[in-house]
């Protein structure tokens, strides 16, 4: 055993020696996603986003070769930190793209504070506090977060759909809190109602919703549902089975392709359900078309269309490469120039222009969508509107926005 350790150590020493001599003409970039556990499929699609951005730049950044090293977590923050630490401290990456999920993002942000010479770019994690409260100087998020994704939906529900009161059914953790907040804040500001006792928080991973469905009130205009993956699939089927007839409003991952495209019964009753998010599969725009086409040619065995994970990783990786181009690939100052360049960076993505606010969170376009029946009877999200340049604070000043307090089960009160 000792021998093995010694050998590993020698090997590690050799690797670090060789990198010292190679450092002039290559840049090490780490990519961290969930390549194990239940989110493996999403993690793999994230890596496709990274590959696409690298292919677009021929794996070059600022005239230097980019060496990509992948890391894997199992969606728990502990494992994300260990994987990040390995990439940074053992493999010596100077730029790290990742992680995938919200609580991992918060953990990696905290870790970033201990590594001031490494530049961290978000993957697809979408927790508010990753950049809102106590941000890290070297953590950049060119993708948007959960509350931003809801932009335009509250207004749409109130003004166009004419809903005045909604019940809420959501999973009981931070991401749905953020989404509910993002939806209710404008909805209630306009005069809509969603009393706290009409909000149902179910444990994540709950599969049997029939009792919750029975407990939902009848005297509301619609139900706002923020569930994801299998939980959403289960709820929708059971709601139909129980003869539910209230219209639904969906969170960003409630009626996306992972749910609409799940194996089994088509849920035609969700047609007409509005939702909002960072991408829209059917957006009729040349930049998006080009992106989807590139994805399909590069990964014939990938998803039919890139997921929001591939999209977010793509944008963040591309930002890193653009930043490297601007500083000529020079990271000899511990990446300070790169980070200055990233802070000022503004660029065109498949979903419109992106730039950062002063806490290094993206200001980007958000899509308002509605479920329609596609030509082959499949269900799609049709783009209704694009809310342009959504900021993390909904256009309010930072201090005003902080007055809302942390997202939670009862924020906003909405009475």
């Amino acid at each position: 055993m000792l021998k093995i350790i010694r050998n590993t150590l020698v090997a590690a020493a050799l690797i670090s020696l060789s990198t010292a001599t190679m450092a002039q003409d290559t840049i090490k970039m780490g990519a961290l996603a969930t390549l194990e556990g239940a989110f493996t499929v999403l993690g793999e699609d994230s890596m496709r986003g990274v590959q696409m951005a690298l292919a677009e730049f021929n794996s070059m950044g600022g005239g230097k070769k980019i060496e990509l090293i992948t890391g894997s977590s199992n969606a728990s923050p502990d494992s994300a930190i260990r994987a990040a630490r390995k990439l940074v401290e053992q493999d010596g990456v100077q730029i790290l793209v990742g992680p995938l999920s919200g609580s991992e993002g918060l953990a990696v942000k905290d870790y970033a504070k201990t590594q001031p010479n490494v530049t961290f770019l978000n993957g697809s994690s979408a927790a508010q506090d990753t950049t809102l409260r106590e941000p890290a100087e070297n953590f950049f998020r060119f993708s948007t977060e959960g509350a931003q994704w809801m932009a335009g939906l509250g207004e749409y529900a109130y003004n166009e759909k004419g809903y005045r009161s909604v019940a809420v059914l959501a999973e009981d953790y931070s991401f749905p809190y953020t989404q509910v907040f993002g939806f209710l804040e404008p909805f209630c500001r306009l005069g809509g109602k969603s009393p706290v006792d009409a909000r149902f928080w179910v444990p994540i991973g709950n599969k049997d919703y029939s009792s919750v469905i029975a407990a939902l009130p009848d005297d509301v205009d619609a139900i706002y549902v923020a569930l994801g993956g299998a939980d959403a699939v289960n709820f929708l089927t059971q709601y139909e089975q129980a003869g539910g007839d209230l219209p639904l409003i969906g969170g960003s991952i409630t009626v996306d392709q992972s749910v609409l495209g799940s194996k089994g019964r088509a849920r035609s009753f969700v047609v007409g359900t509005p939702s909002a998010g960072p991408i829209s599969d059917t957006w009729d725009d040349s930049r998006w078309h080009a992106f989807v086409e590139a994805y399909q040619t590069q990964f014939p065995d990938g998803f039919p269309s890139p997921s929001l994970f591939a999209h977010a990783y793509y944008i963040n990786t591309k930002a890193a490469l653009l930043g490297l181009d601007q500083v000529g690939g020079d990271l000899s100052d511990g990446g300070a120039n790169l980070r200055a360049a990233l802070s000022a960076l503004e660029f065109e993505t498949p979903t419109g222009m992106v730039k950062l606010d002063e806490r290094r969170n993206a200001i980007a376009d958000i899509f308002l969508t509605e479920v329609i029946e596609g030509p082959e009877g499949n269900l799609l999200n049709k783009t209704i509107a694009v809310t342009s340049q959504v900021s993390q604070t909904f256009g309010l000043s930072y201090d005003e926005f902080l007055n809302y307090g942390q997202v939670g089960r009862e924020n906003p009160k909405c009475e």
Partner: protein
Amino acid sequence: MKFEHWFFNATPGSGFKPSWLIVAVFLIAYPGFSSDFFTFQIGAYSLILGTIALSLMMLAGYGGMISLAQMTVAGLAGYLVAILGDNSVGVMGLGWPWWLTVFVAISLAALFSAFVGAISVRTEGIYTIMITLAIAVALFYFVRQNYTIFNGFTGFAGVEPPTTFGVYWRNPLPFYYLCLAIAVLSLWAVFYISRSTFGLSLQAIRDNPRRMRSLGFNVAAHRIFAYFLSGIIAATAGVLMVWFNGRISPGSVGVEVVIDILVIAVVGGLRHPVGPFLGAIVFVLLENFAIDLIDRERFNTVIGLALLLIVLFSPDGLLGLWRRARQRLSAARQTRLAAGRATRDGGSESYNSLSNP
């Protein structure tokens, strides 16, 4: 030979061996020739996991009780450190001084361990596995759902070890030595316990509870006390764990990590207190470097296969494998030296039983 005898039935710790000195020198000198990463994430982390697995080895090896709640005890101690001490989340964080925090956290977690023991000692063997697994999952759900004390799904971040004597204890070097000290102390404690009157009665209870009961021993009390002692070890490692990660959340006490501890202990070997540490080193190396060798996607298959192979072919773990290999080697050498003199020592006997379990 029956599986249980192979599998646990650790014998009381034996005296000093010269090979220990080599290991000790290596462990003390280790940070000198390894990078910070190897000192911290490989070295210190293996020691922490090894210590938690050691607490399981103590219960299983000397008490015959396989508890899956050891990680839960460790995690509870970690949670208590975040709750009683300081964290950056803005929930709880009572700001107690670190020594009080650590003391109370370890004590409460050890009491919880005794409580787990009290629930499960009335049953035996496989029953214990089921019940402790259920308790572990119950606590996982509870901390995930409770926001007022455990801050639910998000858990706690910004948990810092203290700075004493001008040393910031999360720096790789001091943290490694801290973990090493705790690990050695725990090992020594387990050795000591195994040879104490209490330890010997525990082993007798393991081998024949009925006889011990009729001899007037309070079997349940012995077992609960064993849970309490192993809880102290697990909880201490849990405090190190939360300092190591700087954070704790329900995932830190989830089903996967609970099973991981079992895998570490079984793969390392439950018959000797050093086994769990061996298992931990292998596990941590795999966890960190498997992605460079194989596709990370099938990491769990590798872990599962390792467990399967060990349970099928070498119930006393890697340590047993190593011991048998060495005995076989020395047996072969002796045969060569004293040609013609047939040697059948204990080693080759146990090797034979390997092929016909």
